[in-house]
């Protein structure tokens, strides 16, 4: 099976824009694979063939790259990719318990998808939000400071089609395909939503302001970062 002509034409337009960003075409391979995921929900056989054609590579070269990176799904993924951080710190702070209870609640394990096609569960490595532990990510949006109860609620809400918002992110959660399109370099216009920073990110600044602590003055004119 190959892409329908109109799909193919649309993908080609996007692909050419992506390739045009780089001094050398092959640098476009990772974003092209994200683009394929935005179309198919995973890196499909057709999608890899498409990448190969666009870049003048063999399909084997494309598959070799796609299989290296964990964000590229090898089989159709759910609408929501739900990850629980199980690296040391999050695991200790409760991530292990969240994973165990959530996996049992949903009835699928790591890299498995529910039969309704809604939820794929994933055991995540560190996602650089350790001060918000235990951390979960849904379609690569932050869901900070989770508990087993909040995790179950989150997944139930997603399966029931309720509106769900990340703790630091836009007011609406994108689908996996929509998120993949942003990763391919096509902004969705949501950058302005959500807080600049929240919770622990602001602890140091809050304390500094309360105590009047500042970096030394340079003597000359102050710059923008001093606000």
């Amino acid at each position: 099976m190959t892409y329908a002509p109109e799909v193919r034409a649309r993908l080609e337009t996007d692909a050419k824009e992506i390739i045009g960003r780089y001094p050398r075409p092959r640098s476009a391979l990772l974003p092209l694979l994200h683009l394929v995921q935005s179309e198919d929900g995973y890196v499909s056989d057709d999608g890899q063939e498409f990448c190969a054609e666009m870049l003048g590579l063999s399909k084997a070269e494309v598959v070799g790259v796609a299989t290296f990176y964990t964000m590229y799904k090898r089989k159709p993924a759910g609408e929501y990719n739900v990850g629980v951080c199980i690296n040391a710190l999050c695991a200790v702070m409760g991530g292990d318990q969240i994973w165990e209870e959530l996996s049992e609640h949903v009835g699928v394990g790591h890299d498995e998808t529910t039969s309704d096609g809604k939820i794929t569960l994933e055991r995540l490595e560190c996602n650089a939000a350790c001060d918000f532990a235990p951390v979960m990510m849904v379609n690569w949006e932050f869901f900070d400071n989770q508990t087993p109860d909040s995790a179950r609620q989150l997944v139930d809400d997603l399966r029931e089609g309720k509106e769900v918002a990340p703790t630091r992110g836009p007011s609406r959660l994108c689908t996996f395909r929509e998120a993949s399109r942003v990763l391919a370099g096509f902004p969705d216009g949501l950058a302005g939503e959500g807080p600049s920073a929240a919770g622990p990110s602001l602890e140091g600044l809050r304390l500094a302001k309360a105590n009047g602590w500042e970096a030394p003055k340079p003597g000359a004119q102050e710059r923008g970062s001093e606000k």
Partner: protein, 428 residues
């Protein structure tokens, strides 16, 4: 007493900090583009800024390695692949203050005579990527990027590139391979990226926080920056406290501050508990214990005590935490993330994982401790990049400080700790 010095974090509480309105008009870049590029390199050298991505290499010196008048294209690649367990500073920085990074990219690129720059962001942080994309677009619209910036005749293209899930791509040569569209596997050095980096051209790879610090140095002067910190570890940095502390978070302070001082600011270890072990700079830096509370957190002092400053990722664990369990988790991480290129790392991390699993279940023997130490000795220094070396840090340091705890596991035939007690909700 050391106090906090918010510079990069200074505007994070503004609702529009991630826009030009909440950041400012790129005054430092304007000034820089009117200067001789070599003068900018000199300012950064004089400031004493050292790489904030972990290794601490002097930033200005790295820029100075780029050959000039060689007729080749030069590149700046920003390493925004923050993935080291415990490290969580670049992600909030790019979410709240992406323009400090973009402005730093302009100044850095100009200094090294690059007309093309990339920000390689790990893919698993969608909203951060949106914010960086938006900041770059805003800068283009204002004429801060593109052709003839500020009428100086200098041109710069900046591309935001999303990774796809691979810790190894935080290693600079693996990152370059990935950016070229290959599997992210490290290259043998030399040649270093300064000579043969992206597309085999002279390339500077700098961490997000390093580049974002540059505008403040250009604006306020090398002396201003060098006036903070210690003699050899100058300036400020973001210290990330996580784990069993009352108020985890980001604390921007001069290098050389101690964990004791930072814990005081963060409300101490969570109530009713005490410090057991911590990492000074992420999981690849050997763990410390309560005896290291007063070690100045600068490159030299932490090194002298047998660890590394790394990325100032202070993961704090109290007495409810089983050190064997934490080390097993980190080891599983390294085994998962080893790219497979070098045999000692690929095979060694696999076997470490097997033995540690057995130890944690209380099914090991004292011989296993010798085995994991021996495996770690055979990984350390025997692979292309630092991933394998990093994997050995938790092993060696935990056996050094907590040998008895390992022994206890097989004495009683299981883990002596209650997992529930170490959770956020378990201690209440």
């Amino acid at each position: 007493m050391t106090t906090l010095t918010p510079v990069l974090t200074g505007n994070w509480d503004l609702p529009d900090s991630f826009t030009l309105g909440g950041y400012g008009e790129y005054e430092a870049a304007k000034r820089a583009l009117g200067m001789d590029p070599d003068a900018i390199i000199q300012i950064v050298k004089d400031s004493g800024l050292r790489g904030r991505g972990g290794a601490g290499f002097p930033t200005g010196m790295k820029w100075g390695f780029i050959p000039q008048n060689d007729g080749k294209a030069h590149y700046l690649v920003v390493n925004a692949d923050e993935s080291e367990p415990g490290t969580c500073k670049d992600i909030p920085l790019m979410m709240a203050n992406p323009h400090s990074l973009v402005e730093g990219v302009i100044i850095t690129s100009y200094a090294i005579r690059a007309n093309y720059a990339f920000i390689y962001v790990r893919g698993e942080v969608l909203h951060v990527i949106r914010r960086v994309q938006a900041a770059v677009r805003e800068a283009y619209e204002k004429g801060y990027l593109g052709a003839n910036i500020f009428g100086s005749g200098y041109d710069l293209e900046l591309v935001v590139h999303s990774g796809a899930g691979a810790y190894i791509c935080g290693e600079e040569t693996a990152l370059l391979d990935s950016l070229e569209g290959y599997r992210g596997q490290p290259r043998l050095k030399p040649p270093f990226p300064a000579v043969a980096g992206l597309y085999a051209s002279p390339t500077v790879v700098n961490n997000v926080e390093s580049v974002a610090s540059v505008p403040s140095i250009v604006a306020n002067g090398a002396d201003w920056f060098a006036g903070m910190g210690t003699e050899k570890s100058k300036g400020f940095g973001i210290f990330s406290l996580s784990g069993h502390v009352t108020r985890p978070g980001q604390y921007e302070a001069p290098l050389g501050i101690t964990l004791r001082e930072l814990l005081d600011m963060a409300g101490g270890i969570r109530e009713g508990h005490e410090l057991k072990f911590w990492t000074p700079g992420g999981s690849s830096t050997p763990i410390f214990t309560a005896e290291h509370l007063d070690v100045p957190l600068d490159f030299e002092s932490v090194g002298a005590k047998g660890s590394m400053l790394g990325t100032r990722a202070l993961q704090i664990f109290d007495e409810t935490t089983c050190v064997v369990r934490a080390v097993l988790r980190w080891t599983e991480f390294y085994a998962h993330e080893s790219c497979g290129k070098c045999t000692p790392c690929r095979e060694g991390t696999y076997w470490l994982k097997q033995v540690l699993k057995r130890l944690e279940k209380g099914q090991g023997t004292e011989d296993d401790l010798a085995t994991i130490t021996d495996i770690a000795d055979n990984i350390l220094g025997r692979s292309f990049c630092a991933l394998g070396d990093g994997a050995t840090s938790p092993i060696h340091s935990s056996v050094k400080y907590f040998r008895d705890e390992y022994l206890k596991h097989f004495e009683i035939g299981g883990c002596p700790f209650d997992r529930a007690a170490s959770t956020v909700w378990g201690s209440k």
